[in-house]
Symmetry: C2
Subunit: 420 residues, 2 copies
């Protein structure tokens, strides 16, 4: 009898994390000699710890196929990082208890950097606690900050959403600028790296096209330089459309959103970056401005997902299962770029001890000398990642996203309480 | 020799106003016996007043066809309402000067309620100032507030954007709610009527689906009732996704965004509604919250336009030209609904004196008794308007929107300065 496997989604969800789930499930179904049942953790690793498992074998082939076009986490995800073995041994012992009770021999973890670290620790349970588990990481993060993979599944779709949105808003602002709004700010997610903001730059294919200004977390925010760049764009092109990363910082290292927030109205969480920048433009340049905040809309936007991203998301799920079948453990499935144009890629693998807790930064030569746009090198890297459309089916004018049955596997163990 | 015609775009642009332009231009080209050249005002009526005209005959058939998939105003739009004849006679006299100089006998005005009023006044120039012009109004407004037409071209696409976005964000929030964000707020445009917010309600096809709460400008905002509704949704469904119209008001009549803004940080323009509601939820219910602000993204989102809206936008442009050919003036082309399901509609006409300055409100029976959702009557009305997808072509992963040549017609008159 082959042993069972467990799949869990981790951290912030994306438009295509379910595509990786589909890749894992469909590929595992093709290897009945290697896998018994494939379970999923309800709400990620929390489900594994609380023995709240989902039996994916009860989902129809059609439902699993529909994961391809369904955003967010179909089994639920969570933000819970397992601490080191020395700090919370109880959680690891519980995990082994659950794995034993349900005869789980393989663990697929679908997440970003923190989850890679957890996955690595699970792969070491044989050495550390005497219960060997094959643990394979399936990369996922809209932040695009995992090392040793060309890109992170989830990022291409966020990139496409950003580029499409700022192009559309740019056309809008341009056509009204004579008598109305001259400056538009789109605030995008991305606390630590400017990948998402950079993707907005793809919309500007010719001189003067939106976005005319991009604000990166990698570049210290300088109010005067920013306003000068905005003013120059309005004077030269009639308007200025801006993509601003939520993570931009002052020279002090403080987030602009917090610094401004605290100064202006004594409440750091409220307001956010975009309204602050808008007010700055209004007060100092006297231009009419508007702003949008993309927030979750960008990472949930399956309706405008990148076809490349969808394919890669599936491919890493499939590759992860094949790595398991090949007997591997402690590795992450990766995307390897062979060439930029045409974009040729294959899947590969990377050892998790080189992935966990390493953040891929945006190279400085991806940002223009003035700090307000992307370079050609950046374009060459980013362009293929947003290529292609992969539309979901629609019903009643709305995307027809699937909700799985998510039937629970009967519990066998006493209750366990997860501490934060 | 047939006389020339002038087309102008007015007010806030939409994802499909250019489709109406395409309808006007292509149909006018089919009637060379009736129209000489078709000019367009650069930046709307401002272009007409400043004699800044565009010769649309210099645009290729392919470029005009590409207007079908290009958002915003291809000729530029503006916010400039002509005052009454008694208040600014000079502008009307100037308009006649320009019309005479360029032999313009027909005026197509593509806009909302204010523009309908201007269009009416232009249609009366024969009586009032002795220069007869055929003036036909082409309806356009994302606000859906024009009377005597089933709906307003531009609205269906905004409605679809809102419904799609809140469905996607709802899936996201639902899948993370166990350990992360439980309440999500999407702020949508619509100062005076709740049409756009109501459209978000279409995403909730089954009990408990997002959005669980909608905030309408028609319903006085009651903090306690709002928080109770949010709390109930979180307790019952695990999360609460909210569509909030920017135009919601307190019992005093004050906008919530302004009132809150002034109280919290003494600056009414800053911050906006969504951050305010988010803070309220955080402070009083202690739930983690996030918010997005759609702003121009929603009205520019040609990539997710409603196919019904695209068809109707073309149809009113075409109908407007046919009304002109039939010798009509002082009318607006309209959409007439024959049945809800299947949605059967035709174009019609309405006299501008019954359109100008009349605002179509959302019927009270379109909002549920508790004030937080839409009724079945509302669904029957809205559902067909978001039906169908009409994707633009893509190049390099981005929508391939057209920029017209917009060649200027040589000026013949002295300069004229438009006063605000």
């Amino acid at each position: 009898m082959p042993r069972n496997a467990l799949y869990a989604q981790s951290g912030g969800v994306t438009a295509v994390i379910n595509v990786s789930a589909q890749g894992v499930i469909e590929t595992a179904r093709q290897h009945p000699q290697h896998f018994g049942k494939l379970y999923a953790g309800r709400n990620g690793i929390i489900g594994a710890l609380t023995e709240d498992l989902i039996d994916t074998s009860l989902e129809s082939d059609a439902a699993i196929a529909a994961l391809r076009h369904t955003p967010a986490g179909a089994f639920g995800s969570c933000r819970h990082k397992l601490k080191g073995l020395d700090k919370n041994r109880a959680e690891y012992e519980r995990l082994i208890e659950v794995f034993k009770a349900h005869d789980i021999g393989t663990f697929f973890y679908n997440g970003g950097g923190d989850s890679a670290d957890t996955c690595l620790k699970v792969s070491q349970l044989g050495e550390t606690l005497g219960y060997p588990v094959q643990a394979i990481h399936v990369p996922k993060t809209m932040d695009n900050d995992l090392p040793l993979t060309d890109c992170c599944p989830g990022f291409g779709s966020v990139a496409k959403y950003t580029a499409v949105s700022i192009r559309e808003a740019g056309f809008d602002v341009e056509s009204m600028a004579k008598t109305s709004t001259k400056v538009f700010i789109l605030e995008v997610m991305g606390r630590h790296a400017g990948w998402t903001a950079a993707a907005g730059g793809l919309a500007s294919e010719n001189e003067g096209e939106a976005p005319q200004v991009i604000l990166f977390p990698e570049i210290v925010f300088d109010e005067d330089k920013f306003l000068a760049a905005v003013d120059a764009s309005v004077k030269q092109h009639g308007s200025c459309s801006i993509v601003a990363s939520e993570g931009i910082r002052l020279a002090s290292g403080k987030f602009v959103s917090e610094a401004g927030g605290a100064d202006a109205f004594g409440h750091t969480q409220l307001g956010g970056l975009a309204p602050l920048l808008a007010r700055l433009v209004g007060d100092r340049l006297k231009y009419k401005q508007h702003y949008a905040v993309a927030d979750y809309l960008m990472r949930a936007a399956r309706h405008i997902a990148s076809a490349t991203d969808v394919e890669q998301s599936y491919a890493v799920g499939k590759a992860a299962v094949e790595l398991a079948v090949a007997g591997k453990s402690g590795v992450m499935a990766t995307i390897e770029r062979q060439s930029d144009s045409p974009y040729v890629w294959t899947t590969g693998e990377a050892p998790l001890d080189q992935v966990a807790n390493v953040e891929k930064k945006m190279p400085r030569d991806f940002i223009s000398a003035d700090g307000f746009h992307i370079t050609d090198a950046c374009r060459r890297y980013l362009a293929p990642l947003i290529a292609g459309e992969d539309y979901p089916p629609y019903r009643n004018g709305l995307p027809d996203y699937v909700r799985l049955r998510n039937a629970a596997v009967p519990k066998k163990l006493p209750t366990f309480t997860v501490t934060k």
